[in-house]
């Protein structure tokens, strides 16, 4: 790893810079607010590194261009928001079936429908439950600061190659637009073994290869699906990412991801200053979900409060993780108005009063 000069960038630009520094030289995308700085940055800077930016005619085309490029083994990225991500679902499913790597950014916005361009976390289900047709998952990472947008973009490429699994960076308008100092760095890029036996490069001196997701022969599809599941299990065993604060002696645990977690941290700090025994669990990988962290909460914890900018989508995963052994409260703001730390603190205080 090489450290680079500190920069002051918008979240979206930090992602684009990280992708280029991670060796991603191909980007296909279609404009949509609030992530346009990503394609714009790529259009400007990819030619400088001999890479290629292409503005596709739609998100459907973008994701399929990505599919075609990913099959050759290069690092490739696309990005979009809500409505565009919906259009890409077909491609996600094919990429999952084809077992190809790739990184997709969802700077999500309010929905359903055309919705609004402000921050929400309403795409949680769509991201972590598959979204498209068939039994598959994406790896889903949820950064909460500019620096983390940078770091997790690089991580996204690494994980996606390790598992040959599409990786989504799930952010929102706040994270995309926030401008912060970033410490960029360049990873050691293990350029990927050029002899990877699945690469499509033209059958020079070898047997022809095939990338497909059609399995008609008896039992073949079932085998393929079990293999994908095995991969997801390995992922859950080895690559869960989670941050915890003050949970060791907590009576109440708040859980939140992405920008909501960032706001919640301020509320938690205030609560601790006032002597409340509260802690925070911040899932960083939303898929695989940090189930074990919830399952193995200290005895002192008797209640969980889930805070999200939606109507409570992550609550389901939290409940499943603790197997309904504790009550789970919810505080949500699904409409695009970002809650203040005070609002979260008030809700925290209320839940805490019920615990004590």
């Amino acid at each position: 790893m090489t450290a680079l000069k500190k920069v002051f960038l918008k979240g979206n630009e930090a992602i684009a810079l990280a992708a280029i520094n991670a060796g991603c030289h191909y980007y296909f995308g279609y404009p949509i607010t609030p992530q346009n700085e990503i394609p714009e940055y790529m259009a400007k800077h990819l030619p400088e590194v001999g890479g290629e930016f292409l503005q596709a005619e739609s998100e459907i085309a973008s994701i399929n261009m990505m599919l075609g490029a990913a099959a050759t083994g290069v690092r490739v990225m696309t990005s979009s928001s809500g409505p565009g991500i919906s259009l890409m679902q077909e491609g996600f499913s094919y990429i999952a079936g084809n077992e190809l790597p790739g990184v997709v950014v969802n700077m999500s916005r309010q929905g359903p429908g055309l919705g609004g361009i402000n921050a929400t976390q309403g795409d949680y289900f769509q991201a972590v439950k598959g979204g498209g047709h068939g039994d598959y998952h994406l790896i889903v990472l949820a950064p909460h600061t500019g620096q983390e947008l940078y770091d997790l973009t690089i991580k996204a490429f690494e994980l996606s190659e390790k598992y040959r699994c599409l990786t989504m960076l799930l952010g929102d308008a706040v994270l995309g637009q926030i401008k912060e100092p970033i410490n960029p760095w360049k990873p050691e890029i293990s350029a990927g073994d050029p002899d990877r036996e699945w690469l499509i490069t033209g059958a020079k001196g070898r047997q022809p290869r095939l990338i497909k997701s059609l399995f008609l022969a008896d039992g073949e599809m079932e085998k393929h699906n079990w293999r994908l599941q095995e991969k997801y299990q390995q992922l859950a065993a080895n690559d869960v990412m989670v941050e915890t604060c003050f949970i060791e002696d907590a009576h109440l645990v708040l859980t939140a991801f992405g920008s909501m977690a960032r706001i919640a941290k301020t509320a938690i700090d205030q609560a601790r200053e006032e002597g409340m025994k509260v802690g925070l669990i911040r899932p960083i990988s939303l898929y695989p979900f940090p189930t074990a962290t919830f399952k193995n909460l200290p005895e002192s914890v008797s209640r969980v409060l889930t805070c999200e900018m939606n109507t409570g989508q992550m609550v389901e995963d939290v409940r499943l993780s603790i197997d309904n052994s504790l009550p789970v409260d919810f505080y949500g703001r699904p409409g695009g108005s970002v809650p203040t730390p005070e609002e979260i603190f008030d809700r925290l205080q209320q839940a805490y009063a019920e615990v004590e």
């Binding site: 085309a61 599919l67 099959a71 499509i200």
Partner: protein, 250 residues
């Protein structure tokens, strides 16, 4: 005995699964002959579409990526943008290219993407059992136009070749048929030319091949082939509609 023809080396030995009298087999052969002619077998990537031709990966001895329904030209774009020295072609039916994939083909053509597109127009959905295609002829019955295609309800059979020829981007746009030996010879020449365009980095080439689907037309192979000559060619005229020799866009 002197051998006058042999199986192209760009084809595997596997026997085709196509129905008797289906033209897909002939088109496969013509594409393979073109690949052989330029010695491209080891540097070609095929993009398979959805339809009766999806199994082309069993027949072509080249690397193949299977694309979602209609998206072949977008997949091919992604591949070719990375592997500029390889030859990338798509092989798509009329349902694939002219229905779901209309946007993808128009924009790949308009960008002058340096790929070759083989478009097999049999005026019906073959694989799914004979439903109406965008290219189904007026009055033609199919399982979803049991009383015949009616333009008030279903619109007119779409002329993709004419549409694409109207764009600035493409370098070669042509329509051929394989209904008669003379037409097969012309088709062979134009398909070869389509690959030559790509070999010479001259941009987007597109060949529509009128072909028969005896099974879903409910006809004998002979009658089906005659239908191509008598009904399809008058509406879908053959020929090279556009050819750019000097390519300024690449």
């Amino acid at each position: 005995m002197k051998q006058v023809v042999k199986r192209p080396t760009s084809l595997t030995d596997k026997p085709f699964h196509f129905c008797p009298g289906c033209h897909h087999g002939i088109v496969h052969r013509l594409v393979a002959e073109a690949l052989d002619f330029f010695n491209l077998r080891e540097k070609t990537i095929g993009v398979a579409s959805v339809g009766c031709s999806v199994f082309l990966y069993d027949y072509f001895a080249v690397d193949v990526i299977e694309a979602p329904h209609g998206r072949a030209s977008a997949v091919a774009t992604g591949t070719k943008r990375v592997l500029k020295d390889q030859i990338v072609f798509t092989y798509q039916g009329d349902g694939d290219l002219a229905a779901i994939g209309t946007a993808e083909i128009i924009h790949a053509a308009n960008r002058g993407e340096n790929i070759t597109v083989i478009f097999v127009n049999n005026s019906i959905y073959g694989m799914t059992g004979g439903q109406m295609a965008p290219t189904t002829m007026l009055g033609q019955s199919s399982t979803t136009t049991p009383y015949g295609r009616d333009y008030h309800r279903d619109g007119y059979p779409i002329k993709m070749t004419e549409m694409l020829a109207a764009l600035e981007g493409p370098s070669l746009v042509a329509r051929v048929a394989v209904d008669k030996p003379a037409n097969v010879k012309k088709a062979r020449k134009i398909i070869r030319q389509a690959f030559q365009m790509q070999v010479e980095d001259k941009g987007f080439s597109f060949v529509e091949v009128l072909s028969a689907c005896p099974t879903n037309w409910g006809m004998t192979p002979q009658k089906a082939t005659k239908r191509v000559s008598d009904e399809m060619i008058p509406y879908f005229p053959l020929g090279v509609l556009k050819q750019k020799d000097v390519v300024d866009v690449l």
